[in-house]
């Protein structure tokens, strides 16, 4: 069994991993991993935040938070606080 933490395959290493809240709109990246509590992680996975998925930060709300993202062809908004739980690789879309 492979115990390596790396999930290879769809994830291309472009730039060092950061978190989604650091991607200011307009900008794009790919999901590297999610480190959220079980319930939030389950919802994020169902919504398409799976490793390798392309995310586009579309726009921020008038007060800077939450931010609207495009993923899998639809748009969803996340608070920066929750976006911080998603590790991403920028500039890979």
């Amino acid at each position: 069994m492979d115990d390596s933490e790396e999930r290879t395959g769809s994830v291309t290493r472009c730039e060092p991993v950061t978190t989604l809240d650091m991607i200011s709109p307009p900008g794009s990246c790919r999901v590297a991993s999610i480190s959220a509590p079980a319930m939030v992680r389950k919802r994020l996975l169902a919504l398409g935040f799976i490793p390798g998925a392309a995310i586009e930060a579309v726009r921020a709300a008038p007060l800077g938070d939450p931010v609207e993202y495009r993923i899998k062809g639809y748009t969803i908004s996340l608070r920066k606080e929750d976006a911080r739980l998603i590790a991403v690789t920028p500039g890979c879309a």
């Binding site: 069994m1 748009t75 608070r79």
Partner: protein, 667 residues
């Protein structure tokens, strides 16, 4: 042909599921709660040929994990109640994400039919979905539907019926790769040793859920005979990692099939994006939101006022005709005229207001704007410790707190929801407006509008302050994560908006109507008896109670008449106006009541303003309390709501009475 089949409608939120449900069942609907939870259960019936079809509308969900109570309800229904067919309603404009739920429904092993809803919109964008290939690759029949126009619904029912008759139906399995499949096989082998468990839940499905670390599935295992064996296998597995790998695999399956099935899945910038650039703009977003809300309320009152005047005039003349008809015995004439017809009038008078407001809010909701409102307002709401979703019930609270509190059901976190419920009565509902109209009109004739506006703002400020206070003290925690889909803008259809309006408005009539009527009857009894006392005078029971309460409200500058009116206002706040009419002996006629109020030396602008603030805050009306009790499931919180409201109202009114003269310069 079967005589009777049961169909469940499943799907993501915002895919037009309710539109399809309404179109299929028409008026043959029944709304109840799912057992044990406060999630609404809608079911209805229709016929196709000789077959009677029962349709159950499952809550909208993104997946069938146990993230929210909605998901648990949806999947438990499918697993435990075993409907003959599940129709999965898919938003054809958002095909890929929607298919994730399909993969989960497939794993449940139920006969499945896909409704490719909003197909017209998808086709207009240039998206073409090949239904023959869906059938070929997924082994699931797919039907093109446009719920809002009723297109494809007969075909959908026929497909469902055919699927229900097909037996055995296909075993839809997704392969998860060697490692995970080995785990699944091992767990399935264990699960099958408990025949009770294996017969109730598809073993492969349960094994997959266990590997994903699903608590709800764990519970099922804990109650079985194979707890130890299953736990032993699971102990060696990192479920968090497996879960991500499995979600990944499902999306891989989707990604592999997508280009085959959806020959041109368009994902370019569309009209929604352009609108969003404006309505969520950094500078324009909040002003646009406020302007829309202002317009909604202006429109509501502009349209409702003529209806309200008409209802008022008709009911008023009916009441005085009956009361003055010389009917014998006299008390009966008084009961019918003053009590019953008058009471009916106070139920009916708010129907235009409430229904029009609910209609406009439904239009905003169906168009997709309310999601943007939550997006724009979330940062502010978050600052006071609430999720953006709480904003919408607060908004509906301006119409009526009853549907508003019922609307908190969309909030997943229990504490978020409780706070949203508890602060809702401070949102100034339509029933309080007549009190403002009367008092502001009498004492602030030149700037009544500003005074009413200040009261609304006061209510909002108290609600915000209370939310903050509750979060810091009795209901600590942080708002649940905000993961909100921004649905594409759509032209709302009048039919759907009317349906929405009716569903919520009916709750007002049903829940509040009887209580207000009962309240009006009690008012009449207290004001009329002991028989012979002048109606509502100091000698009547009402007067006696008022005198008893007078010392309590004296520091606020209120006399016994106000105390009585406030007491009756607990039944429904607009009764305050009627009660004042009775107590000042002028009846419902507003101009003579205005005169009587102005002539009362104990009332001035400051006292009138304090009274309006008190009416705004002092406690939820009976109908609202009934809903708070129902939705929180607790008398403790219901009692808390009453006590907290009275204390806040007393303090605020006291401050107004003391500080008011200084500010107004003793006008």
């Amino acid at each position: 042909m079967k005589d009777r089949i049961r169909i469940a409608l499943a799907g993501n939120p915002n895919v037009g599921k309710s539109t399809i449900f309404n179109a299929l069942t028409g008026s043959n609907q029944h709304i109840a709660n799912w057992p044990g939870v406060t999630v609404e259960k809608k079911s209805g019936t229709t016929r196709l040929g000789k077959t009677e079809i029962e349709i159950v509308d499952l809550p909208g969900t993104y997946s069938l994990t146990a993230y929210s109570i909605d998901e648990v309800v949806a999947r438990d229904y499918i697993i435990e109640e075993k409907p003959d067919v599940v129709i999965h309603v898919i938003d054809a404009t958002n095909f890929e994400r929607n298919l994730y739920l399909t993969t989960q429904l497939m794993e449940l092993g139920v006969p499945l039919v896909i409704a490719l809803n909003m197909s017209d919109e998808a086709e207009k964008n240039g998206t073409l979905i090949n239904r023959t290939l869906i059938k070929k690759y997924f082994e699931i029949p797919a039907v093109r539907t446009v719920g809002s126009k009723g297109e494809g619904l007969d075909e959908l029912l026929r497909a469902a019926l055919t699927e229900a008759e097909t037996s055995p139906h296909h075993e839809h399995a997704i392969g998860y790769g060697d490692e995970i499949e080995r785990h699944i096989a091992a767990i399935v082998a264990v699960l099958e040793k408990d025949p009770n468990l294996a017969s109730r839940y598809p073993p492969r499905w349960l094994a997959i859920r266990l590997l994903e670390g699903d608590d709800n599935a764990q519970d099922k295992i804990q109650k079985s005979t194979i707890t130890a064996a299953a736990d032993a296998i699971l102990a060696s597995i990192d479920t968090e990692k497996t879960e991500a790998a499995m979600a990944d695999r499902r999306y891989e399956v989707i990604a592999a099939l997508l280009p085959q099935v959806c020959t041109t899945c368009v994902k370019e910038m569309n009209a929604s994006d352009i609108i969003d650039r404006v309505v969520t703009d950094r500078w324009l977003g909040i002003p646009i939101f406020l302007a829309l809300m202002w317009a909604a309320f202006e429109l509501t009152f502009a349209v409702a006022t003529p209806f309200m005047s008409a209802i008022d005039a008709v009911m008023g003349s009916c009441a005085s005709y009956v009361a003055g008809s010389g009917m014998e015995p006299a008390w009966l004439a008084s009961l019918l005229g003053d009590g019953i017809i008058g009471g009916l009038g106070s139920v009916l008078i708010f129907i235009p207001n409430i229904f029009i407001l609910l209609f406009i809010l439904s239009l905003l909701e169906d168009s997709g704007y309310l999601a943007r409102a939550a997006f724009v307002m979330d940062r502010l709401m978050y600052a006071i410790g609430l999720p953006g979703k709480s904003f919408i019930p607060m908004l509906i609270g301006f119409g009526c707190n009853v549907p508003a509190i019922l609307g908190t059901r969309t909030i997943e976190d229990k504490n978020d929801r409780l706070i949203t419920i508890l602060i809702n009565p401070f949102m100034s509902c339509g029933a309080r407006l007549p009190v403002y109209v009367l008092l502001a009109g009498a004492f602030f004739p030149t700037n009544a509008g500003t005074v009413v506006f200040v009261l609304y703002v006061l209510g909002i400020a108290i609600a915000i302050g209370s939310a903050y206070l509750f979060r810091k003290t009795i209901l600590p925690g942080k708002p649940a994560p905000f993961l909100m889909e921004m649905p594409p803008y759509r032209f709302p259809t009048a039919g759907t908006a009317i349906r929405h309006m009716w569903d919520r408005g009916e709750m007002y009539i049903r829940k509040a109507g009887g209580i207000i009527l009962a309240g009006a009857f009690i008012v009449w009894v207290l004001a009329t008896f002991p028989w012979g006392a002048e109606y509502g005078s100091a000698e009547s029971y009402a007067g006696m109670i008022g005198h008893l309460l007078e010392p309590l409200v004296a520091p606020l500058g209120f006399d016994w008449k106000i105390a009585v009116a406030l007491l009756f206002g607990f039944i429904a706040k607009e009764i305050v106006v009627g009660s004042l009419g009775v107590l000042y002996g002028t009846g419902e006629d507003e101009s003579s009541l205005t005169g009587a109020l102005l002539a009362d030396p104990s009332l001035g602008p400051v006292a009138a303003f304090a009274l309006m603030a008190f009416v705004l805050l002092y406690m939820p009306c009976v109908a609202t309390l009934a809903v708070i009790r129902k939705e929180t499931g607790s008398w403790k919180w219901t009692g808390f709501s009453v006590a907290y409201g009275i204390i806040v109202a007393y303090l605020v009114a006291f401050v107004i009475v003391r500080a008011g003269p200084l500010i107004l310069g003793g006008i």
